[in-house]
C-alpha cells in the first residue's frame, strides 16, 4: 500500500509538470493549429534563466530564505520567457501564418535547435546544479514520503491551472481566445484583434513553460541545455493524449501520462513476473497513447467530428 501511494505521489508530481508544459502546446494548437515545437526549449530557457539568477543570489546573499530566492528566479524567468515566446511568434510564425502548414512546423523545429544552441553557448555544455537553497523537508505519509518541493509543485501547478481556466472562461481575453480558436476570420470580423490574441496565447503559454522549467530544475536538482527536448516530447504526447487544442485535455493528459509512467515503471516487472521490466516503461506509456488514439483519434477530451468549418 505504501508503495502504491508513493507511486501515486510520484506520478501526480511528474504529471503536473507535464500538464503545465502540455497546456502551452495545446493553447497554441487550439488557436493556430500549429505545433510549437520550440515550446520545450522555452521551458529549458526558463529553467536556465531562473538558475542563473538563483545561483547569483545564493552567492551574493547566502542568508536569504530559499522560497524568496526561488521567487526571484521565477520573477526574472517569466518575463524573459514571455518575451522569448512573443519574439518567436513574431519572427518565426506570424510571417508564415498563411503559408502551408508544413512551413511553420519546420521553422518551429529550427527555432528549437537555435534555442538549444544559444543556451549551450551562454551556459555551456555542463549540467548546472541547482543550489541547495530550498527546504529539504520530508514528510511521512502512511508509509510513503513526500517532500516540500513535491508539495510545492502540486499546489503551484493546481492553482496555476485553476487560474488559467478562470482566465479563459471568465475574462474578455479568454472569450476572444475561444472565439479566435473557433474561427480566426469570423473573430476578426467581430472586432477581435486576432494578432493580439495570438500574442497573448504565446505569452501565457511561455509563462507556464517558465514555471514548469523552474519546477523541473528544482525537483531534479539540475538543468541542462538539452532538458527541453525530452520534456517537450512527453508534454506534447500528453497534449495529444488528452485531445490537443483542449485545455482540460492537456491537464488530464499530463496527469495520466505521469501516472502511467510511474505505475508502469513500478509495477510492470512484478505484474509480468519479471518477463517485462522497467525498460518497457516508455513503450508502455506510448502503447496507452496509441490505444487511446485508435478508439478516440482526437484524444480523450478532444472534439469529436468536425467542429471547425
Amino acid at each position: 500500500m505504501d508503495i502504491f501511494l508513493q507511486q501515486l505521489i510520484n506520478g501526480l508530481v511528474l504529471g503536473s509538470v507535464y500538464a503545465l508544459v502540455a497546456l502551452g502546446y495545446t493553447m497554441v494548437y487550439g488557436i493556430l493549429e500549429l505545433i510549437n515545437f520550440a515550446h520545450g526549449e522555452i521551458t529549458m530557457m526558463g529553467a536556465m534563466v531562473a538558475l542563473a539568477v538563483i545561483g547569483a543570489l545564493a552567492l551574493a546573499a547566502p542568508g536569504l530564505p530559499g522560497v524568496l530566492v526561488l521567487g526571484a528566479g521565477l520573477v526574472v524567468a517569466i518575463p524573459v520567457c514571455v518575451a522569448l515566446g512573443l519574439l518567436i511568434e513574431r519572427v518565426a510564425y506570424r510571417p508564415l501564418r498563411h503559408a502551408p502548414r508544413l512551413a511553420p512546423l519546420i521553422t518551429a523545429i529550427g527555432v528549437s535547435i537555435i534555442l538549444q544552441n544559444v543556451a549551450m553557448l551562454i551556459w555551456g555544455k555542463q549540467y548546472i546544479p541547482f543550489p541547495a537553497v530550498l527546504p529539504q523537508g520530508r514528510h511521512a505519509l502512511y508509509g510513503a514520503a513526500i517532500t516540500d518541493v513535491q508539495i510545492a509543485i502540486l499546489l503551484l501547478a493546481a492553482s496555476i491551472m485553476l487560474m488559467l481556466i478562470l482566465v479563459v472562461q471568465k475574462t474578455r481575453l479568454g472569450r476572444a481566445m475561444r472565439a479566435t480558436a473557433q474561427s480566426r476570420q469570423v473573430a476578426s470580423l467581430m472586432g477581435v484583434d486576432v494578432n493580439r490574441v495570438i500574442a497573448a496565447t504565446f505569452a501565457i503559454g511561455s509563462a507556464l513553460a517558465a514555471v514548469a522549467g523552474v519546477m523541473v530544475s528544482a525537483y531534479y536538482g539540475l538543468a541542462h541545455y538539452y532538458m527541453g527536448f525530452l520534456l517537450g516530447l512527453k508534454a506534447f504526447s500528453a497534449a495529444v493524449l488528452g485531445g490537443i487544442g483542449n485545455l482540460g485535455g492537456a491537464m488530464l493528459g499530463g496527469l495520466l501520462l505521469g501516472l502511467i509512467e510511474s505505475f508502469g515503471a513500478g509495477y510492470i516487472g512484478d505484474l509480468t513476473g519479471g518477463f517485462l521490466g522497467s525498460n518497457y516503461q516508455d513503450v508502455f506509456a506510448f502503447f496507452v497513447l496509441i490505444a487511446v488514439l485508435v478508439f478516440r483519434p482526437s484524444g480523450l477530451l478532444g472534439a469529436r467530428g468536425v467542429e471547425r468549418a
Binding site: 508503495i3 511528474l14 546544479p129 538539452y226 510511474s262
Partner: protein
C-alpha cells in the same frame, strides 16, 4: 612561355588540392591526421570535450617535440568529430574520418558508439584506440584494429560485485542500468560477480541515458529493501538518482562505475553525494606515475579534468609510439607494431593482450567524503 608555365603550375596545384587523402605538405612538414571521436554535444558533452582535450594535449606536445617518420618531418593534426554518444551517428562519423584519410583514431568515448564504429575502422584498416570504452563486446569482435587503454567491464564488474558483497557486506542488491552498451554491460558483469560472491540480486531495473526521473523505479526498489543499489550508467543520471533515493528515504548504499566517479557527480548531487561509492579503472590520478604532472599541464590549458582525459592523452602517445617504432604513419605498416606496445604512460604501464584489451588492468574504488572523492583501495583485476 611564362603564361604556359603558370598554367601548368596551377593545374598541378589543383590536383594536389583535389586529393584530400594524399599526404599534404605544409610549411613545417608532412601533415598526418589523427581522428578523435566523442560526444561534443548532448548530455555527455563535458566528458567528450575532456577526451578531445586530452588527445589534443598529447598531440601538441608531440608536435612541439618534433616527430620524424621515414626520414621526413611530420606534423600531426587532430580531426575531432562529434558522435553525440549515438551509435548511428558514430558510424557516420567513423566513415567521415576514414574518408578524410586519418592515420589512426582515438575514440570513441561510449561503448555504444565505439562498437559499431570499430567495424568501419577495421574494414578500412585504421587502428583505433578507445580511451574509455569498457564494454567487453568492443574487443570481442576480433578486429585487429581495435585497442583500448582502459580496463574493461568484465575486469571492473567483477571487482565491483566482489567489493559490494565481501567488503561492504551487502546481501540484497538492486541493480539499475541505463540500457547503453556500457551501462548494461557493466551491470551484467556486476550481477554475475554478486551472484558468484554469494549475494542476492533483489531487483533489476532499467532507465535511459536521457532520464532524470527515477522515482518510479526507486519506489519499486524500496519495496524490496536492498542493502545496496548499483547503477550502471553516467553521472547526469547518477546524481538525480541518489537525490531521489534520499527523497524516498532509501537507506541503501549507492555504488557506481567509472561513469559516476566524476567531479560533476558531486557538483550535481551536492550534499546527497556524501557516502556514494564508485570505481574507476586504473589508478587514481594522484597515484598515476605521471598524474600530478599531467594534472598541472592539463588544468593550465583546459581547466578541471572530468574523467578520461589522461587515457585519451596516453592513447595518443601509444598510437604515435607505434608509428615511431614502425617509422611510418601508414596504418598498414604501423598497425603491426601496436600489439607489441610496451608504454609507460600517465595512467600506468600499457600493454595489450591478444584481444587488444589492456593487460592486467587495475580498478580503484572511491567514496565521497566531505564533498570529495577519496580513494578507498586499488584492486588488480585477476587476468
Amino acid at each position: 612561355m611564362t603564361v604556359h608555365k603558370l598554367a601548368w603550375v596551377m593545374v598541378a596545384a589543383a590536383m594536389v588540392a583535389g586529393c584530400g587523402d594524399k599526404p599534404q605538405q605544409n610549411g613545417d612538414g608532412q601533415v598526418v591526421k589523427i581522428g578523435q571521436a566523442s560526444p561534443l554535444t548532448g548530455p555527455q558533452a563535458h566528458l567528450g570535450k575532456d577526451n578531445e582535450n586530452g588527445a589534443r594535449l598529447a598531440l601538441d606536445e608531440i608536435n612541439a617535440a618534433g616527430l620524424t617518420l621515414g626520414g621526413k618531418k611530420v606534423v600531426l593534426e587532430l580531426e575531432s568529430e562529434d558522435d553525440a554518444a549515438d551509435p548511428k551517428t558514430a558510424t557516420t562519423v567513423a566513415q567521415k574520418l576514414v574518408d578524410e584519410g586519418v592515420a589512426g583514431v582515438i575514440g570513441h568515448l561510449n561503448s555504444g558508439a565505439t562498437i559499431p564504429a570499430s567495424k568501419i575502422y577495421s574494414d578500412n584498416g585504421i587502428p583505433q584506440i578507445s580511451p574509455s570504452a569498457t564494454a567487453v563486446a568492443y574487443t570481442a569482435s576480433g578486429f585487429k584494429t581495435a585497442f583500448r587503454v582502459m580496463t574493461n567491464d568484465a575486469q571492473q564488474g567483477s571487482v565491483l560485485g566482489n567489493f559490494a558483497v565481501t567488503k561492504l557486506g551487502a546481501k540484497r542488491i538492486a541493480i539499475i542500468d541505463d540500457r547503453t552498451a556500457y551501462g548494461q554491460g557493466l551491470a551484467d558483469e556486476v550481477e554475475k560477480a554478486v551472484k558468484a560472491a554469494g549475494g542476492e540480486v533483489v531487483a533489476r531495473e532499467y532507465t535511459s541515458d536521457r532520464s532524470t526521473d527515477f522515482m518510479a523505479i526507486l519506489t519499486s526498489i524500496k519495496g524490496k529493501a536492498p542493502d545496496l543499489v548499483f547503477f550502471g550508467g553516467m553521472d547526469p543520471q547518477a546524481a538525480p538518482m541518489i537525490k531521489q533515493m534520499k527523497q524516498l528515504g532509501i537507506r541503501a548504499k549507492f555504488l557506481g562505475g567509472d561513469g559516476v566517479q566524476t567531479p560533476t557527480f558531486i557538483q550535481l548531487a551536492g550534499a546527497d553525494a556524501e557516502g556514494a561509492l564508485a570505481s574507476n579503472p586504473g589508478l587514481p590520478l594522484d597515484s598515476m606515475p605521471g598524474g600530478s604532472a599531467f594534472k598541472a599541464k592539463f588544468e593550465a590549458k583546459y581547466g578541471q579534468i572530468q574523467n578520461y582525459a589522461p587515457y585519451a592523452y596516453d592513447a595518443m602517445h601509444v598510437l604515435v609510439d607505434a608509428m615511431k617504432r614502425a617509422d611510418s604513419s601508414d596504418p598498414a605498416t604501423y598497425l603491426a607494431e601496436l600489439p607489441k606496445t610496451d608504454y609507460r604512460g600517465v595512467t600506468g604501464h600499457i600493454r595489450f593482450d591478444a584481444k587488444g584489451d589492456l593487460a592486467g588492468g587495475a580498478v580503484t574504488l572511491y567514496q565521497v567524503k566531505d564533498g570529495k572523492w577519496q580513494t578507498l583501495e586499488t584492486v588488480q583485476s585477476g587476468k
